[in-house]
């Protein structure tokens, strides 16, 4: 069977000693930053991006992917034990997980979180393996008009599903698009928006923007005030859940996996949105909703399964269509570009070892995480005591030398300052930097295809609605925008996000 053949290919790639090592390293690093509050997966991937330049392409992707899903495991550990979610996606886990810990059931909560995550990771990985080839062979028939509509759909959907104000997020997308245009225009050869600086002829490097917005700005805002420290529940308790706890959580794990797998695929989706949605699903269908917030194990199992499933399935649009759905996927795209790989439908065809190796490594990585997390939980708990003031100088050094190494010049490091300050100002203005990054990476794709489509149609914009796939995509986008204008739905969205912030 062809499916088994490619799967075998994937596992033979992923099981080479180097790739196993990178997988382990990624999972370990992911857990580490998941446990440590104050540094998230987005910043870590941004900082390590330049280092991956020195690695083989598959090894680099395996490691970066491991950081992302590893962080979902690690984030729940601190959420449960100290009520301090290491990652945004673990915020809901803290609600019931910490209550369980206070009742001495921390061990059970951790075990359910890890086992649920492993199950969800496995299912979502299979989903990726099944959906990947189907979607990509569909996408191979896309012309320039379809790509334009897909980019617009992806960018707008990402802003609507993201946290906070939609109009500001659209503004951030525009800002990202403009930043993506800096440099020499490939069509005409004229330099654009470079302010006469020859260093900007090749455009702004992706790493510079990512490190500035997510690395430096994050350190600056973390240092603004004294570190918040949670109170550690000293006893973890018995790790193995009771039969009753198993009974209460397996349904939640199944539902969370489903919610996460589907929401992860959507633009703007991913781990965080999946976790929040799974929590509200569990609360709604529970026979005892009053137990939520007081240590309901379903409130740990559902979101934990969902955030891991979402983390895995958000790779689907990137690997099949070349469209990243959130800022981490944008960085994966950046990493692929560094290695000269153009993400999109042709990857599965032309470089099957890359796609299937990554898929196989995800499953291996999830299995590794189970081992890294459960028996070694004590080590991670001790790590929580490392103060941020010892941590951030190292992060700072990684940022600077990493950016320097991209082009071996100090100019890029100076540019990071600009984006660090911009990132800080945007935080104060309550603007999300994620959409900006998406706009920046999708900008060139959007512009090339827009020019091509309009050149072919001789400037007739109707080409976008005459082609069926493109028309459908634009129709969905328009529908989403319309629902935002309708007051009832806008209110519902606001309530959903406000509830999720509690």
């Amino acid at each position: 069977m062809a499916f088994l053949d490619v799967l075998m290919l994937g596992f033979s790639e992923a099981f080479t000693p180097t790739n196993l090592f990178f997988c382990f390293l990624g999972a370990l690093l992911g857990t580490l930053i998941g446990v440590l509050p104050g540094i998230g997966p987005t910043a870590t991937v941004a900082i390590l991006l330049p280092v991956t330049f020195f690695l083989p392409p598959l090894g680099a992707l395996i490691m970066l992917a491991g950081i992302f899903y590893g962080a979902q495991y690690g984030g729940s550990t601190t959420a449960i034990l100290v009520n301090l979610p290491g990652e945004a996606s673990a915020v809901v886990t803290a609600i019931d997980g910490y209550q369980m810990a206070r009742k001495g059931r921390a061990g059970a909560a951790l075990a359910i979180a890890a086992l649920g995550s492993f199950f969800a990771g496995t299912v979502a990985t299979i989903g990726l393996a099944v959906a990947g080839p189907t979607l990509s062979s569909f996408a191979l028939s896309f012309g320039p008009a379809e790509y334009v509509s897909l980019c617009i759909f992806g960018l707008l959907a990402a802003t609507i599903l993201a946290h906070g104000s939609v109009i500001k997020a659209i503004g951030m997308v525009c800002l990202g698009l403009v930043l993506g245009m800096v440099g020499i225009d490939v069509n005409s050869g004229s330099t654009r928006l470079t302010f006469g600086s020859t260093e900007l002829y090749d455009g702004i490097d992706f790493v510079v923007i990512a490190v500035g917005l997510f690395g430096v700005a994050e350190i600056a805002s973390n240092l603004e005030f004294k570190e918040a420290r949670g109170v550690l529940q000293s006893t973890i308790g018995r790790l193995w859940p009771t039969r009753q706890e198993f009974k209460e959580s397996w349904g939640a794990v199944l539902r969370g996996t489903g919610v996460g797998t589907i929401l992860g695929v959507l633009p703007g989706g991913g781990a965080t949105l999946s976790a929040f949605s799974a929590y509200s699903v569990e609360k709604k269908i529970s026979k005892t909703p009053e137990k939520f917030g007081h240590g309901a194990i379903a409130g740990v199992a559902g979101p934990e399964a969902a955030n891991n499933a979402g983390a895995q399935s958000s790779f689907i649009p990137l690997l099949t269509l070349g469209i990243p759905s959130n800022s981490i996927m944008a960085m994966m795209l950046g990493a692929m570009t560094i290695h000269g790989i153009t993400p999109g439908p042709s990857v599965i065809q032309n470089q099957p070892e890359l796609f299937w190796g990554l898929v196989a490594s995800m499953w291996i990585g999830n299995a590794m995480l189970l081992v890294i997390n459960l028996p070694l939980i004590g080590v991670w708990v001790r790590l929580l005591k490392v103060p941020y003031r010892l941590l951030y100088p190292a992060i700072l050094l990684f940022c600077c030398i990493g950016v320097y190494s991209v082009n071996n010049r100090g100019f890029d490091v100076a540019l990071v300052i600009l984006f660090g300050v911009l990132g800080y100002v945007l935080r104060k203005a309550k603007c999300e930097a994620g959409p900006l990054l998406l706009g920046f990476v999708l900008g060139p794709l959007l512009e090339t295809n827009l020019r091509r489509a309009l050149l072919l149609s001789q400037g007739d914009p109707l080409v976008f609605v005459e082609r069926p796939i493109s028309a459908v995509l634009l129709l969905i986008t328009a529908g989403m925008l319309l629902t935002l204008i309708l007051p009832a739905i806008r209110k519902g969205r606001k309530e959903a996000f406000e509830a999720s912030e509690d």
Binding site: F54, S165, I167, K168, I170, G171, C174, L175, L177, V178, M181, N187, S188, S190, R192, L193, F195, V216, I219, A220, L223, E224, F225, K226, E227, P387, Y388, R389, L390, Y392, P393, L396, L397, C399, C400, I401, Y404, S405, N408, G410, F411, V413, A414, V416, I417, G420, V421, Y424, V425, L426, K428, A429, K430, C431, R451, L454, L455, Q458, G459, P461
Partner: protein
């Protein structure tokens, strides 16, 4: 949020609108000499101008709406860490190519460490020495980043 006329205005949104308008205008100005072209034959300036225009329009909308919104102040801010970080990184950026890794890293780490109000000199000294050695071994010797080690 009651009472006086100043009890309106969403300050984060005003800042957001201002930033968008400012950057959009900057983009329009920087691309003022670029050829605009037509939809069928887009010049280099077509999309930059269109997107910058959208950016300004969105910024203006956000700004105007913000003036009528319920009062919302900025989050409490402390600019000191940001300023110290900027100084630290700027030093690294300008010294790295000429003075080399050791000097610029020590500058980066010592100045950068001051950004935390709880920093202690002993810790800074130890972590700077360890990180400088680690960085030199891993990045310069290990990964082969093209940066001189010492000024001479």
């Amino acid at each position: 949020m009651s009472g006086s006329s100043t009890a309106k205005r969403d300050f984060p949104d005003i800042l957001a609108g201002g930033v968008m308008i400012g950057l959009g205008a900057l983009g329009l100005w920087a691309g003022r000499d670029l050829q605009f072209g037509s939809a069928a034959m887009m010049g280099a300036g077509f999309l930059p101008d269109v997107i910058c225009g959208m950016l300004i329009a969105i910024g203006a909308y956000v700004l105007i709406k913000a003036l009528g919104k319920a009062y919302e102040p900025f989050d409490e801010s402390n600019f000191k860490p940001l300023i110290i970080l900027v100084v630290a990184i700027a030093g690294f950026a300008f010294m790295s190519e000429t003075l080399g890794f050791i000097v610029s890293t020590i500058w980066l780490l010592v100045i950068g460490s001051l950004a935390d109000q709880e920093s202690r000199w002993r810790e800074i000294a130890i972590s700077t020495v360890l990180l400088t050695i680690f960085g030199a071994l891993v990045f310069i010797y290990g990964l082969g980043v093209q940066m001189p080690i010492l000024p001479f």
